[in-house]
Subunit: 259 residues, 2 copies
């Protein structure tokens, strides 16, 4: 049973995951981060020892969670010796096999969520996507994940990569469009609050409806009069016009076979 | 006081608005739609007379709500005589002045929301954006709007057009990205349910945070390794790659000054 955990990495994901573990009675024994500042911040939050010296991270734990930028994972592993240790990464787009040269017992612990500093989040509703090098490791990870989340899935590396890509569209890109909306309003002296009920309903709809069926607006019916009016409103913002055109055409392509 | 209302148009907006009015004790006296089928459907829902013959629509009502496709408004008004009547349209991108040749007493009644068939909606949280040809008309419309919504705003035509554009980004385009996410998962045999907590949290975040601060993901930090992996996953979908590149660059442009 996994009872003692170490974190390599102290970003938003490590922070939220660490807090969820601590709340569930899992012991965090050490936090490492490349900078002393962020190691210290998470160390203080979790009230545990922290370091920014990678050689001070020994394998003494039931699980080592590597939650650093994708490009930094290899560098960290080359400087450590975890070969008898259970190690996992938390990255959407990295295969589990990437870890096999460094330890036989390895896996992936991928919580599918957007984490921001200073925003509390209830981990129990977050899908945790697991992958494991063996049935025994899978059992251990499942048991651990079940302590913080009600929705634990076994997802292989190929599926997880697609999931991550879908998440970029449905979260990161979506948020950017909220931002574009907010900026358009701000420039006009209008409050972003005006858009909030629409944003809330747009996401609430797809909890119950297929997004294809939930589509509304001028692009779906290719209402050229409105589309041209919109383009005119953005004629001093060529990059916005381009995005508008691309997405409008993509919506129209997706829907014209139905209309 | 507006007590008796007519609807010209029987689409999603008219349907939801009609139901909200009926619930609030406003009398709907007639429904017109270009097709007998949709006129009949809304007529049956509201239990009121309906017609698809425009000449059967007389001005006998306190308010006539024109809620047809933007391009059809002129055609409808040319075939009717409402010149002593209070008329409003419900369109985001049409100026109020468009109605002035047809009646001195006119305005705009624009509920900012996405309406879908078969989905119930609580009108009380929907911002209703009003514009009116006179102070007297504004008072009448405000009184009416307050019966169905807690958030009634006075918004002029220029502001409303920007609001509509912002709504296209933050609702229509957002929903299309949910759809792209859903399709990517479906092709991989994965359930859209996996994405739902992420979608819900992404919108919940901007109820409290500025969307600029809420941004996460590889585009924000221009993580080329992940971006290239994602592009490779879509290499049989050139139109998706193009959208991905455009939005990724737009996010990077918006954030690089801060990073």
């Amino acid at each position: 049973m996994i009872q003692r955990v170490k974190f390599i990495g102290a970003g938003n994901l490590a922070t939220h995951l660490g807090k969820a573990f601590a709340k569930a009675g899992i012991q965090i024994v050490q936090v490492y981060s490349r900078t002393l500042e962020s190691a210290g911040t998470l160390g203080a939050i979790l009230d545990v020892p922290f370091t920014n010296v990678i050689h001070e991270v020994d394998p003494d734990a039931d699980l080592i969670i590597i939650s650093v930028k994708d490009d930094a994972i290899e560098q960290v592993l080359k400087q450590t010796d975890f070969h008898k240790q259970l190690i996992v990464h938390t990255a959407g787009s990295i295969s589990m096999d990437f870890l096999s040269p460094y330890s036989e017992r390895h896996g992936v612990f991928y919580p599918l969520q957007t984490f921001s500093k200073g925003r509390e989040i209830d981990f129990s509703g977050i899908p945790v996507c697991l992958e494991a090098s063996s049935a025994e490791v899978l059992t251990e990870l499942k048991e651990l994940a079940a302590k913080i989340s009600k929705t634990v899935y076994q997802i292989n590396s190929d599926d997880r990569k697609i999931l991550h890509l879908a998440a970029v569209f449905s979260c990161n890109f979506v948020n950017h469009f909220y931002d574009i909306g907010a900026q358009l309003l701000e420039k006009q002296g209008l409050a972003f609050d005006l858009l909030k009920p629409l944003i809330a309903e747009t996401s609430a709809k797809v909890m119950e409806m297929n997004p294809r069926d939930a589509q509304t607006g001028p692009a779906k019916r290719y209402d050229e009069t409105i589309i041209n009016k919109h383009l005119k409103l953005m004629n001093n913002r060529p990059e916005l016009m381009e995005i508008y055109n691309f997405v409008t055409n993509s919506i129209w392509q997706a829907h014209k076979k139905y209309s």
